[in-house]
Symmetry: C2
Subunit: 324 residues, 2 copies
């Protein structure tokens, strides 16, 4: 993995993925006690950054291989990204999703033309199911983070951050990224290493699912004790991926951990101050910046709002509790 | 008023106003039966396009005049735009607001450092109050739409639409714009006349407050019978402005009219499909595109989502009724 792969992905993605803006609000700066810049990947196609990695991977496949179809396993955001990228490449997608994924994500994935296969997150192994189906049907497995082409695609977010921050005169910053398997976090860290070396990336995770923070501390890949039990469904991956982890180790600062409830608060602030819709996991880095910034040191913090695929009921719950 | 004024405003605004992206969703295309591109000015500073016009006007003032302070009357979006533009220019702002404006808008305007003076929309004349205070205190009145510099600032939205649509290969389209006094609509129409002559602008208004649609039909400025009674508070101006109206007459197609309830539906669709927060008036053009497009003729419709300053309670109401 290196910056050349990310720049190659950026070329393939150009005109396909959306260049999301960099948002801000004086009200958020006031809460955080420092300047806050938000990269709203919830505005990306399919409502999360995952479309970048999916497009990167599918566009790099041999056309004959791609034509046989692809398969992915995902709680919903990678699912939608792969489904749309497959449809736009004129091929088919099979998506293996946990049965407790948000209904909106399941429905959208189907509506984007994918065949959806549900599994039980607590008792079944999605990797095994994915690998078996791929073998049986001749499908190419598009892994959600343990795939260099996917990491390269997510890294294009970092290229944009470096350029957009520089336009605002910002070259020194801590960059907070919601972190599941580490694909987005490692991709951004690699991009910034090359393009904005004054920036330091920190992964953000929900309380009880801080496998990446613990892995960075211990120096080896740690597991989460559970695979369910947080509203941050997008980022409660069992452990950091083997492709991202060495990159995270080499480039990232300590992981930050936020309670679920602060993600709801951050969702309400993003609603009121930025006019964007975020899902709990997607708002975790904003929650860290606004409510858990004690360990941060830079004058500017850049936050990735990684996704916005949230059911209306849960969003309304966040507004009822913390909205204005 | 001409394109040169808009291009001059664009230069003054460069790096100050946000260049909002152009969003889309295959799900919205499906509802509308045509391609829908959305310009989310809710993502603009202060949550609406109004910051453009406010910055345009304030930045063009003589510095000595500007230093004495400015005054504006507004239901809330122009208020916030002027308040922030004044603060960033290091001057003071007095804002005259109707007492029934959304609480969020009143609070934000105060938090942006402006002095807020409330009046009764049904019994008092805001123009008279504004003019009196301006005279008494030596403040410069920044009118919300009957001011060429403001129209020029709003017109920068049209310059961006022309360029961003061209990048997608779109040069022919109908462009739907939420319309109060007509500042945004006329500014966009002027910009597109010069930069995208294959596009036709249509103003959109709420049912019962269709003064612009009726004025376009009759050929003279018509009044709304009431000044309250729609959730689309941002765009229930009594009549089209004298500066915008001749431009609307010369360049716009027929006005579209949408019921309040369809604005709530459009807000829910924008939440689910675009991950943006819109207020009822701000979602009116999207409502027209999605649910009242019978009279439209182009393959592509471009919609301005003009603002997102909505209270959490009303937004939750839209989600409870139409959210997924």
């Amino acid at each position: 993995m290196n910056i050349d792969m990310i720049e190659a992905a950026a070329k393939r993605i150009d005109g396909k993925a959306r260049r999301t803006p960099l948002l801000s609000s004086p009200f958020l700066d006031e809460i955080a006690g420092r300047r806050v810049l938000v990269k709203p990947e919830c505005l990306q196609h399919t409502g999360s950054f995952k479309f970048r990695g999916a497009w990167s991977a599918l566009s790099a496949l041999d056309p004959d291989i791609r034509a046989k179809g692809v398969i992915a396993f995902s709680s919903g955001n990678h699912a939608q990204g792969v489904a749309l990228a497959a449809r736009e490449h004129g091929t088919t997608a099979v998506i293996v999703m946990p049965s407790d994924a948000p209904e909106l994500k399941i429905n959208n994935t189907k509506a984007l033309g994918a065949e959806v296969i549900l599994y039980d997150r607590a008792t079944e192994d999605r990797d095994e199911i994915g690998a078996r189906l791929a073998g049986e049907r001749g499908l190419t497995l598009i892994k959600p983070f343990d795939e260099p082409l996917v990491v390269a695609g997510q890294g294009t977010t970092g290229l944009e951050i470096a350029q957009q921050a520089a336009e605002l005169g910002v070259t020194q910053a801590e960059v907070l990224v919601p972190c599941g398997g580490g694909g987005l976090t490692s991709g951004i860290a690699l991009a910034l290493e090359a393009k904005a070396p004054g920036m330091k990336v920190h992964p953000v995770e929900p309380e009880g699912f801080d496998d990446v923070a613990r892995s960075l501390k211990s120096g080896k890949i740690e597991q989460n004790p559970a695979t369910t039990g947080s509203i941050c469904d997008a980022i409660i991956t069992p452990s950091p991926g083997v492709v991202p982890f060495p990159i995270l180790q080499r480039l990232c600062g300590a992981g930050l951990v936020v309670p679920d409830d602060d993600c709801l608060r951050a969702m309400a602030e993003a609603f009121t101050r930025l006019k964007i819709v975020t899902e709990p996991g997607g708002a975790s880095a904003l929650a860290a910046a606004l409510f858990h910034g004690e360990t941060l040191q830079s004058d500017t913090v850049i936050v990735v709002a990684s996704g916005g695929n949230v059911d209306a009921a849960l969003f309304s719950q966040a507004l009822a509790k913390y909205g204005k």
